[in-house]
Every structure is written in C-alpha cells, then in structure tokens.
Point group: C2
Chain length 195, copies 2
C-alpha cells in the first residue's frame, strides 16, 4: 500500500504534517502489512509552506508510481492550483479514474472541485471557504458541520487540524479500529484544548 | 518577540509541526504585536525527521539571536542529545539562564532533563518515557496525567499531539484567551477523534 501526500508552495503546514504523522506512525509502528507513506510535488525542489516551513519532497507526481491513497492538503497555495489548464488536475483525474482513494484537508477540496472530482458529491472544506468551493462547482452538497466527509472514493476534511481526525478515520477504513486506536495512543492524541 | 523551534535528525514531525502551526498562525494572523516564529538546528543542512520528512532549518542555534521562547520537540532523535558533553546543553542552559521561556514536547523533556533544566521541577513527557526521564534526573516530579505542565519558566508537554495544546496555552500566556481562541478557530481545532 502506497500513500502519497502532496506538497506545494503555500501548503498549510499542519494540513500535511498532521496526516503525515498519523499515517506514518501507523505504517511504521502498527501496520502488520507494508505501508509506504511518501510526499509528492511538481518538482523535487524544496517547497515553502504557508507559514514558511521549507520541506523537501520525496517524489515528483510523475515518478511516484501507483498510489493507493492520495492526500491533498489545503492552504493559500491551493489558489494557484485552480486554473482550468492546471496540469495537476489531469494527474488528479487520472488517479481518481484509476481507483486511487482521493482525500483532502481544508482547502485541498478546492483543487478537487476545480478538477471536477466533487461533482454531485457531499464535501467539506475550511470553515470560511464554502463560498469558494461552491463557486468552483455548484453541484457540491456542502457539509459545514462535518469534521470530514467520507463519500466512498473521495474523502474531504474540514480545516487544518481536521486532517488528523480524517487520517485516523482512514486508518479505521484501511486497517480497522484497533489499528487506529494503537495509532492514536502512539501519538498520544487525547486532545485537551486549553481554550 | 522571537520564538525558536528546534529541529534535529529524528525529531518527531508533529512535535514541531503542531506547535509551529499554532504559533505561526497566531504570529501571522492574530497577534497585534510583531512575533517571529523560526526554526533552529545545529547546522543549516536539511534534517530528516523521525518518520522521514526532510525539513530545512532557518537558522543555526548560534546565529539565531535572542530567543524569547524556545521549543524542544521530542522523537527518537532526542536519544542522541543526552550525552554529558552534548554541546546543545550549553546553549539550553545559557538560554534558560538568560530568561528564555523553555518549552518542550514529548521526549524533548529528556534533553532538558539531561541539561539539568528540570531539577526539582514537576514535568511531563511521552507516556512511555517516564522511566527514562527519571533515570536522567530523579529529582523530577513526574506528572503523567497532565497534558502539559507549566512550571513558570519551563513548560513540558505530553507526547506528540500534546504540543498543539501546549502551544495554545502558550498563546494564552503570551497574549490572552481571546488570541488563543482566534488561533484555535484559525486552525479549526475542534478535535473529534473517530476512535
């Protein structure tokens, strides 16, 4: 099993690092079957994330090989990926058409909407981005009250930290509740927000 | 105000990326006063984090300038930073002695313990690392039931994801509850673990 997390300039840090932690912990410490979690980007150059963290991608989208699960983070950098001629959309449609489970965090769903992956589907995004989402595709059924929306072969999440919850749900789907509980324990995910 | 987050080979990804997101969101989107959040490492070479993510530090510890808040992540890479001659300990003691607020996530507290920063203090760490913590300094009062322990000029957190809660607490301390609530809303931190 191969899980690829997209990186791009302006990707929000926790959007990719939260699911990365959950999925890589599961892959390395919990899963009995081999699971690879990797990062993909347009090139192998370091990306500068939304808040300035610079991260080096492991693969380009084109040399990544078959991907079972794809994860598209959000962040202000998504706005540069919404054009009708955006080459990423071709790759996204090819993956979706080839059976890759397509997942997104935060405004990553805007890119899926622009690529046509969310037509007539329920979906979520960052709390303030529903207008943008529906402007890209008015057939989407917005789900602002859901932490994540599992529509079978496409899963979208709410903003930023919601990717952690969605990734744990992914582990439930891929490996069952015991594996997800062991992963949760591994990252000591018993959240206690102080405000 | 200057906040420096340490990076090193084997640092656990969410240990630094969670607080990074919280603090950088606050700094960039909420704070009325200028706040800089940066990363520091022994050199400017990319570090390879515990699960394989490669990140480029912004500063070395020596060229970082004055630091108001320092954050030490955990991860298996901390075990290489516990030796009695570890140069990092000198820098940590200098910061603590100079009034820097010293914070840690997960097994980052092991490095603080090895540097002598936790003598006779209450502290926490990753749930399975209390034996290691007390072996480094038996005067520490272990607090395994706390999400984070604020002992004034030193704050330690429980494992991995606990750094997000500790960072929000830091925002409360540095800027008040309204700023922390705005930051929490900004990263849509309404956790709903599915297991």
């Amino acid at each position: 099993m191969r899980i690829a997390i997209a990186l791009f300039d302006g990707a929000e840090e926790l959007d990719f690092a939260g699911p990365w932690e959950v999925l890589a912990y599961w892959a390395g410490e919990v899963s009995k079957d081999p699971v690879e979690v990797t990062t993909v980007a347009a090139t192998l150059d370091p990306i500068t994330a939304a808040k300035g963290l610079r991260v080096i991608p492991e693969h380009t989208l084109h040399d990544a090989g078959p991907v079972d699960v794809f994860l598209m983070p959000g962040g202000r950098g998504t706005r540069a990926l919404l054009g009708v001629d955006e080459p990423l959309h071709v790759a996204l449609r090819a993956m979706a058409g080839g059976g890759t489970l397509m997942t997104s965090v935060c405004t990553g769903s805007l890119v899926y909407a622009a690529a046509g992956l969310l037509r007539n589907r329920p979906a979520t995004t960052y709390w303030s981005a529903f207008d943008e989402l529906l402007a890209l595709d008015p057939t989407i059924k917005p789900c602002p009250d859901d932490r994540f929306v599992d529509d079978g072969d496409v899963i979208t999440s709410a903003g930023v930290s919601a990717g952690i919850d969605m990734a744990l749900h992914l582990v439930v789907r891929l490996a069952g509740e015991d594996a997800a509980r062991a992963t949760k324990r591994g990252i000591q995910y018993d959240p206690q927000p102080p405000v």
